[in-house]
């Protein structure tokens, strides 16, 4: 399963998961509020019922007292104490000494609400006793007697207690289940997105035949995948067409150029003197034409991204060493110091041949435009943002306003009009840079020119995109 690749932090950062979490919190809060509201309402209603009963009894009992006196009241209390189901009664004198009732003594008050009190009492069942909760009201009778009438509310009390102890667990369980559900849903969404991302990465790397996988559910992701795939089909067709055009342009121009050069060579072998010189210079012109054509074709190919298929992990350090070694004698002959700045291996994903050629073009240029006694420095270095390939010289440099222009095809500055070259050297470097997603810049080296290619960091290919 690919899903096992996911690391949790990534999951937590996913949009799907965030939305789910927000909903989960919202749901939990409103559920708790709803439960709390109905709890308070129910409790108030139940209490009111109890309180009304107690009020009614107190009214009844005080009437009995007025009518029958203490004796009569005691009789009524005794009879109710025995037959009553939930009723609790206690009649005491002024100092709370019990006179009658089914409570052993004046209770310890646990809580007040208005005139009403709640307290615990002990009820006997045979030999066992049980502590139970009661709610009642104390009432002073004339003559200093105290009457306590209460009802057993233990069932209600227990329900509330159970309710308040289980509520946090219920909410916790709900949040937990929601969280697990969220993980599953966002994982599923992420894996769909990931498959799209992986496919895109592959295609960027040059594997144009890849397509986004679809499922049978025909959901939004499938619609997206199908649309992407249709777009990719079109792209592939266009790229293929482009490739065919490049190939046939190459073939259709190279074949006649080949015949032209062949004929000139044949003619040269049959001629002498002035004639031969003319033909020789015609061959040289043809060769120049061929060089320019090849450079243009290479630029077109690099731009079309066709060479992406030939991209492999590579390091720049040996490329720099190699090119420096190739150009060292030329530099020395011109009295220029060619130095390689030591750096790391500088790993990139690239086409070695094209990168070498781009670097050779830069070094060639640097040597060409640096006067005797100058210096050309090559460096490949790893920076936090990527890998840099740099060629710096102490030559005449390029005026700031011309720097972007020289990367265009065939642009040659006035100053270099008469030196040999096709005017495509820097355009090729720019095309190679684009092929590698690298940034090509020309800066002032004070004095001289500093050409830099900034390659992106090499990404592990199979890893899901961040």
């Amino acid at each position: 399963m690919r899903a096992t690749n996911f690391r949790i932090p990534r999951l937590l950062r996913s949009q799907a998961f965030r939305i789910l979490l927000i909903y989960l919190v919202l749901f939990a809060v409103s559920a708790v509020a709803l439960i709390a509201f109905s709890y308070w309402n129910t409790r108030r209603a139940l209490d009111a019922q109890t309180d009304q009963t107690i009020e009614a009894e107190i009214t009844g009992l005080s009437e009995q007292y007025q009518r029958l006196g203490l004796r009569g009241l005691v009789d009524v209390i005794i009879s109710r104490s025995i037959h009553g189901d939930h009723g609790l009664y206690l009649l005491t004198d002024a100092v709370h000494r019990p006179l009658a009732g089914n409570l052993d003594g004046w209770p310890q008050v646990q809580s007040h609400s208005g005139h009403f009190i709640e307290f615990d009492y002990e009820r006997r069942y045979g030999s066992e006793t049980e502590r139970r909760r009661a709610r009642g009201r104390a009432f002073a009778l004339t003559g200093g007697f105290q009457l306590l009438v209460a009802r057993d509310v233990h069932e209600r009390y227990e329900t509330v207690r159970l309710f308040t102890t289980t509520l946090p667990w219920t909410v916790a369980l709900m949040v937990l289940l929601g969280f697990i559900g969220g993980v599953f849903v966002s994982r599923n969404m992420l894996s769909r997105l990931d498959s799209i991302n992986r496919t895109s990465e592959d295609i960027i790397q040059g594997n144009l035949s890849r397509r986004v996988p679809t499922t049978r559910s025909n959901d939004e992701f499938d619609v997206l995948a199908n649309n992407l795939n249709r777009m990719l089909d079109r792209n592939e067709r266009l790229m293929k067409g482009m490739r065919e055009v490049t190939d046939s342009v190459a073939h259709d121009l190279r074949s006649p150029l080949n015949r032209l050069r062949n004929r000139l060579e044949t003619a040269l072998s049959h001629s002498e003197g002035d004639n031969a010189d003319q033909i020789q210079s015609a061959i040289e012109e043809t060769d120049h034409l061929i060089t320019t054509f090849n450079a243009l074709l290479l630029i077109a190919e690099a731009e079309a991204g066709a060479a992406r298929e030939a991209m492999k992990p590579m390091t720049l350090a040996p490329v720099v060493e190699g090119v420096a070694e190739l150009y060292a004698p030329l530099a020395e002959e011109k009295g220029i110091r060619l130095a390689v700045k030591p750096g790391g291996p500088a790993p990139i994903e690239g086409n070695k041949s094209l990168v070498s050629q781009a670097l050779a073009n830069l070094v060639d240029n640097a040597i060409k435009y640096t006067p005797e006694g100058g210096e050309v420095t090559l460096a490949a270095s790893e920076t936090p943002g990527g890998v840099e390939l740099c060629v710096a010289d102490t030559g005449s440099g390029i005026p700031a306003e011309d720097r972007s222009r020289v990367m265009e095809r065939f642009v040659r500055l006035e100053a270099s009009r008469n030196s040999p070259g096709t005017g495509l050297g820097l355009s090729l470097v720019a095309a190679v840079a684009r092929l590698h997603d690298a940034v090509f810049t020309l800066d002032d080296n004070k004095p001289g020119l500093r050409a830099t290619l900034r390659f992106p960091l090499r990404r592990p290919r199979a890893a899901p995109a961040e």
């Binding site: 190939d247 150029l257 060769d287 190919e301 041949s353 050779a360 070259g421």
Partner: protein, 225 residues
């Protein structure tokens, strides 16, 4: 030497065949892949020059078939296609060398010579010798007569390549490809500078020069003019 030329561009083919015949080779020709394959498999050739794009049977397929039949004739691909990965495809299919059209005939000839030389059963040589210039491949020592010559590693490889092809024209492109492993055309002719440095080391102060410039073609190392 027997050479097979498979090329569908008839003018190019005629030129190629004539040129090779003038250079003293025996040449058979074919204008399509099928005929080329039949010829390649029925007669022994020292080298086959195969165009990359051929009617009936593509150049790549032709060479793959040859290799599948156990035929190991060295193949030089001629290609008018764009270059970036076509060279790799050509060499992968079993080709031994790759030349992009348009080419100079001397370049082609030099490469054919090199391919033939490669084919002759190369006894593992540990010493190369041209005139009084000796190269010891084991100790990496170079001597001209009694004089030791101090060579940089790349100069050693350059001299080794030249000496392995002693008496043959070696072009600048061949040197760039074989000694430096670059498949591009440096704008300035850097190879000439390397050669003149090497020449200064092996020929300067000696009576007979060994390293010769062949005008319009390249270089050659040989004992006598």
């Amino acid at each position: 030497m027997r050479i097979l030329v498979v090329e569908d561009d008839l003018e190019a083919q005629r030129y190629l065949v004539n040129g090779l015949k003038e250079s003293g080779h025996v040449v058979d020709d074919a204008a399509d892949g099928d005929t080329g394959l039949t010829l390649a498999l029925s007669r022994p050739y020292d080298v086959a020059v195969v165009d990359r794009m051929l009617p009936k049977l593509d150049g790549l397929k032709l060479v793959e078939e040859m290799r599948e039949h156990g035929n190991s004739t060295p193949v030089l691909f001629l290609s008018a296609l764009s270059e970036v990965d076509d060279r790799v495809k050509g060499l992968k299919s079993g080709g031994d060398d790759y030349l992009t059209k348009p080419y100079a005939f001397v370049e082609l000839l030099a490469r054919i010579d090199a391919l033939m030389r490669r084919r002759s059963p190369a006894t593992v040589k540990t010493r190369l010798q041209v005139g009084d210039l000796e190269l010891d491949l084991l100790t990496r020592a170079a001597n001209r007569g009694a004089t030791p010559i101090d060579l940089q590693p790349r100069e050693f490889r350059l001299l080794e390549y030249l000496m392995r092809h002693a008496g043959q024209v070696v072009t600048r492109t061949m040197l760039l490809e074989s000694v430096w492993e670059y498949h591009f055309d440096p704008q300035t002719n850097v190879i000439d500078v390397h050669i003149s440095r090497l020449r200064a080391k092996i020929d300067k102060g000696f009576e007979t020069p060994l390293l010769h410039t062949i005008r319009g073609a390249g270089y050659m190392i040989r004992a006598r003019n």
